[in-house]
């Protein structure tokens, strides 16, 4: 099973995403001996540049070059993958907004299993892949058995697997463009609308006071604004606060919001989903305040306080202001 494992390479500005080398780490956990083939889809010089980068790390690199693939339209890419992949293929895809778009439907068209958002892989036993997933926003984990006898599409969580930086392969690039087939589809890419720049740039802040669902009510936001003021910094937030329209999208930390790199990060009433933590770079010192002692944020924080932010934060502000 799985003599060859395929990895779908996402890329931007002619550079492969970090997940490219992480998928090698994941593939090795499935089968240490499997040959690894990277699939690079795109257009022109960009795709050539990424193929060249990948040939240092993969045994083979399949290139699909077509002007209509300059933007990765998952509907088109699903069609071409069905055309180029062999029967019973095992393919890894990053679990990002592209992989979430592509993979469930791809598994149906390949008539194989789909394993979503794998955070760890224990290995293959016969035709059963043993893996680890998370549920309920990371509150609990599960061991799962995935039947890969008909192949599998496996979405791999970004950042969950160690990247293989060894660059020990010297794979040849194989142009598979002629096998891509008809790429017409019922969904046409129009444009990317860039995120609006807000009144406050949280990406530049060295200290962030960040608030999540634990604030409970819009009018309670005042207490975190007062704390930020006392600390001479600004307020950022997690997704539920933006979904509720209590703060601007430009204040949201996370993979679907801003990437920030403060020195100190106060996570107030934030549970700590991987999407939120994905926006936190540069290894900041994290202080978490949450009334739930089992909140996932305490596993990544440096210092934790188990308390209700509605009571704790005003007292903290008062003490800081008085100093």
């Amino acid at each position: 099973m799985a003599d060859t494992i395929f990895a779908y390479i996402t890329h931007g500005n002619a550079v492969a995403d970090d997940t490219a080398l992480e998928m090698i780490g994941a593939a090795r956990k499935i089968s240490p001996a499997a040959a690894l083939t990277a699939i690079v889809v795109g257009s022109g010089a960009d795709v050539d540049a990424v193929c060249s980068q990948m040939s240092a790390s993969f045994n083979e690199v399949w290139k699909i070059d077509d002007a209509v693939l300059a933007y990765p339209n998952a509907e088109m890419i699903r069609k071409l993958l069905v055309n180029i992949l062999p029967e019973k293929a095992v393919i890894l895809v990053p679990h990002d907004t592209f992989g979430m778009d592509l993979s469930p439907g791809l598994s149906i068209k390949l008539d194989c299993a789909f394993l979503s958002d794998a955070v760890d892989i224990e290995g293959l036993e016969g035709t059963v892949l043993k893996a680890v997933r998370q549920e309920y926003g990371g509150a609990v984990s599960t061991h799962v058995d995935c039947d890969v006898s008909r192949g599998a599409v496996i979405n791999v969580r970004p950042g969950a697997f160690a990247a293989d930086e060894s660059k020990s392969a010297s794979g040849k690039v194989v142009d598979k463009s002629s096998l891509a087939g008809d790429l017409s589809c019922g969904r046409r890419f129009l444009e990317v609308v860039e995120a609006e720049v807000g009144d406050v740039d949280i990406t530049k802040a060295e200290v962030l006071v960040s608030v999540g669902r634990g604030i409970e009510d819009e009018e309670n936001l005042e207490i975190v604004e007062e704390l930020a003021e006392a600390m001479g910094t600004v307020v950022s937030c997690s997704r539920p606060i933006v979904d509720a329209k209590w703060m601007e999208k430009s204040r949201q930390v996370g993979t679907s919001g801003q990437t920030v790199k403060p020195k100190v990060y106060l996570a107030l009433g934030i549970s700590g989903s991987f999407q939120h933590l994905g926006g936190l770079k540069g290894n900041p010192f994290i202080v978490a305040v949450n009334k739930n002692p089992k909140a996932p944020i305490f596993q990544v924080a440096d210092v934790g306080v188990v308390d209700d932010i509605l009571e704790f934060v005003p007292e903290l502000t008062e003490k800081i202001s008085a100093a």
């Binding site: 789909f114 394993l115 609990v140 129009l190």
Partner: protein
């Protein structure tokens, strides 16, 4: 426009702390408060707003046991016109692919221009919408945070949430399947009175025979992905938890913040 919205009854994570039960076979289900999956609720709101602009009907459908009827009724109180419960002992233990196959059978009984699902649910897989679209051979877009529908047009415009807070705009042919991201709208409040108003409406139940589904195509036996157990991973030390009275904790925290450069 005929719209089908797929909804799921899930433990309400805002109301419960999710914990693993003693033997790791399940989460602790005693005293759990259930509600409609948050993403699905945004999808229903979006469907209602589209119907109110261009006309048509909104049907909500759920795969589950008889307790799922309460969430269908809740979404009907929001404004959905019809509810259908897909329930059968043969459906139990289905994986995402099995759930999509059950929904496909129901979808094919109608003539839906638009099928919506939530982008994610409790299990975090985010798979049913894309699988359903592929099974129906309809175009699909995930993580949709914006929909523009013009009456009588064969296409709609949809925005997808992508990395960095950016939005990807697409034109997509009808009929299609979309999975909806939270924040696309502000779901309306449903009060007890609203639910009372729809209390007597009939919610038909369709089983495997009604849907023409062979029992071996769905359920635990057909599942390619199976959960073995639940656990809480040991991720090492984790945070140093500050102990003591609130005053003591605050003093310690202020010292730490000063040492780390968080306070001047």
């Amino acid at each position: 426009m005929e719209i089908l919205v797929c909804v799921k009854r899930v433990p309400d994570t805002a109301e419960n702390e999710i914990e693993v039960n003693r033997d790791g076979t399940d989460i602790e289900r005693d005293d759990l408060v259930y509600s409609v999956n948050e993403w699905d609720n945004y999808a229903v709101e979006e469907a209602i707003q589209i119907r109110d602009r261009v006309g048509g009907t909104v049907t909500v459908v759920s795969v589950g046991d008889e307790e799922s009827e309460e969430i269908l009724r809740r979404e009907m109180a929001m404004g959905a016109d019809k509810g259908v419960l897909l329930s059968d002992a043969a459906f139990e233990g289905s994986d995402g692919r099995g759930v999509a196959a059950i929904l496909k059978a129901e979808a094919e009984k109608g003539h839906y221009d638009l099928i919506l699902t939530g982008a994610l649910a409790d299990d975090g897989a985010g798979e049913v919408g894309g699988m359903l679209a592929a099974m129906l051979d309809r175009p699909y877009a995930s993580l949709v945070n914006h929909i523009e529908v013009e009456k009588g047009q064969p296409t709609i415009k949809v925005g997808r949430e992508i990395e960095g807070g950016n939005q990807e705009l697409n034109e997509i042919d009808l009929p299609c399947v979309l999975s909806i991201q939270t924040g696309i709208n502000e779901p309306r409040y449903v009060g007890i009175r609203g639910i009372r108003k729809v209390a007597s409406l009939d919610i038909p139940v369709h089983g495997a025979t009604d849907l023409g589904i062979a029992p071996e195509q769905v359920g635990a036996a057909a599942a390619l992905v199976k959960r073995r157990d639940y656990f809480v991973p040991d991720l090492g030390a984790g945070a140093e938890i500050l102990e003591g009275s609130t005053e003591e904790v605050i003093d310690k925290l202020i010292d730490i913040l000063k040492a780390q450069g968080g306070l001047k």
